[in-house]
Amino acid sequence: MTSRRFNKLATRIGFWVLVAVVLIYAIFPFYYAVITSLKPSSELFSVSYWLDSLDFSNYAQIFSQSSFVRAIFNSILVSISVVAIALLLGITASYALGRVRFRGRTTVMLVVLGVSMFPQVAVLSGLFEVIRGLGLYNNPAGLILSYTIFTLPFTVWVLTTFMKQLPQELEEAAIMDGATPWVTITKVFLPLMWPAMATTGLLAFIAAWNEFLFALTFTLSDHQRTVPVAIALISGGSQHELPWGPIMAASVTVTVPLVVLVMIFQKRIVSGLTAGAVKG
């Protein structure tokens, strides 16, 4: 009797210890970044896990650099464009793939899935030529194009799965009411697909926001860079000094929007990701 109770208690304690470990593992780096960003650079190398005083000089410094502000603007422009284009193309493609019966539909789906399996590096040089050929080198449009290529397969795949689950009779009711496919998509399906749209849109946003390799390769001037590259290129007073304070301040600045977005859409993300899992 008592041993069973003891076991129960031990299990529960073990569980919470595990949770604590996972939490610390996941959150500590971010926490430390926040701490570091709020310390004056003189204190940087004295290790402490608490904040004694608030010092915003690092933030003031990065925001005083016009190239960093410009990079944030570029990142916002690129990410939002990618999300908008991916969702627009994704929703129309998923209507075709999920709703219209045509020959070779499965093949198209498999090709879409196959495309998403190429690693970025594999297509880097080819894509570079394409972007140069289109005259989009050192231009945010080039980034929008390349990110969309990598985001679309996932978007299409998830939205198609979701679209397939909407009842057939709903679409037929709309047809009987005189709706064209476009009206059916926008007035009937879209309002029902918000969870899936929020999920895929947010993931596309995060991917575009954090992307580094393409952003580094396809841009040249400070004026066209996005945030990840801009952060990597923040340099200190001399070759031997890494300005940790400003770097951390910049990192925190660009992470906060993501955290806020995820919190806003949290509920919908979960329902969107599991929507395909169980029937009903």
Partner: protein
């Protein structure tokens, strides 16, 4: 309101010939019910009329105009789906107004029509609700309202009551019947519930394997089924069948012998068949009489079901064939284990030939 004419309508899905040359004409304001077993093509036929499926071959006319190539909205048809398929994110009002908005009606007209429809269907208090906050019967009414709001010439129903429980089904059945009397619109209604078919229809179309088995009023189908299939499909409990042999026939009728019933003189025309032809004799449970005859007690009562207003008696022929059912008004003094004789009501006995087609009544028959 309009008439509908189906002229040799065919539908082929891939390699499956689902609808096989249907000819049918539906009058203006008529209530027509398609019945038949599952998979016989009722829904497909309805969807062909709606315009949700393309017609492979044949001509469909509404009010005299060929509509084969018109999209649903230009055919002037409204449809009520089995699952209702209400737009979940719209209120009842928006559900009903959706089609009108797409038809670019003015906002005054839309409001007027929706309110008028809501009044007819008693939905006025529910207009601001979303479908998920409605009961089954209310959803059903909204689905009808949505179909009716555009004032279609023809209303199509695909098993609209099959998601409701039994008592609600009876109530909605009544509402649909009264609605039809009030509006006088042409209605085509699919069901596999023969009680719905009998109670609602002006005209019943019995389908089987994509072909029409018989078309007629409920009375015609009940009294004069054209085939054994129709005879077995219409009526509850179902008609009793037993093998019979033709003994001979003349202008006034024919004589047959059936095991357990002896020799019977019936008003049917033997239709040129000679003595010895194999027939099937059919008689409804309500057209059998039980008698305590002495030498002739060939049937054993194996079960008695008391339903309050009526009693079903299940009889086993000596030969051990399928059970026969006798129906009578309660009370009944029959009990399990008793041996009895069966006396069919000769005017209501049906005969089917080897191809399961009913034999007609002879021209100069005694009964006619």
């Amino acid at each position: 309101m309009a008439s509908v004419t189906l002229d040799k309508i065919n539908k082929v899905f891939g390699r499956d010939h689902i609808i096989k040359g249907i000819d049918l004409s539906i009058g203006d304001g008529e209530f027509v019910v398609f019945v038949g077993p599952s998979g016989c093509g009722k829904s497909t036929l309805l969807r062909l009329i709606a315009g949700l499926e393309s017609i492979t071959e044949g001509e469909l006319r509404i009010a005299g105009d060929v509509v084969n190539d018109l999209p649903p909205r230009e055919r002037g048809v409204g449809m009520v789906f089995q699952s209702y398929a209400l737009y979940p994110h719209m209120t009842v009002y928006e559900n009903m107004a959706f089609g009108l908005k797409l038809a670019k009606e003015g906002s005054e007209t839309i409001k007027e029509r929706v309110m008028a429809t809501a009044r007819i269907l008693q939905l006025e208090d529910l207009l601001h609700r979303k479908p998920k906050a409605l009961s089954g019967g209310q959803r059903q009414r909204v689905a009808m309202g949505r179909a009716m709001a555009r004032e279609p010439r023809i209303l199509l129903f695909d098993e609209p009551l099959s998601n409701l429980d039994a008592s609600l089904r009876v109530q909605m059945r009544n509402e649909i019947a009264r609605l039809h009397q009030r509006l006088g619109s042409t209605v085509i209604y699919v069901t596999h519930d023969q009680v719905e078919a009998m109670t609602l229809a002006d005209k019943i179309v019995v389908l089987r394997n994509g072909s029409i088995e018989q078309v007629g009023s409920p009375q015609e189908l009940y009294q004069r089924p054209a085939t054994r299939f129709v005879a077995g499909f219409i009526g509850s409990p179902t008609m009793n069948f037993m093998p019979a042999e033709l003994l001979g026939g003349d202008a006034e009728g024919c004589r047959v012998s059936a095991p357990g019933l002896g020799k019977l003189a019936l008003p049917q025309d033997a239709n040129g068949q000679g003595a010895g032809a194999k027939l099937t004799l059919g008689v409804r449970p309500e057209h059998l009489r039980l008698a305590e005859a002495e030498g002739n007690n060939r049937f054993e009562i194996v079960n008695v079901e008391y339903l309050g207003n009526e009693v079903y008696v299940y009889l086993e022929p000596k030969a051990g064939d399928t059970l026969l059912i006798h129906r009578s008004e309660a009370p009944s003094h029959w009990s399990i284990g008793q041996r009895v004789a069966l006396v069919p009501d000769l005017e209501h006995v049906h005969l089917f030939d080897a191809h399961d087609r009913a034999l007609g009544i002879a021209k100069r028959s005694r009964a006619a």
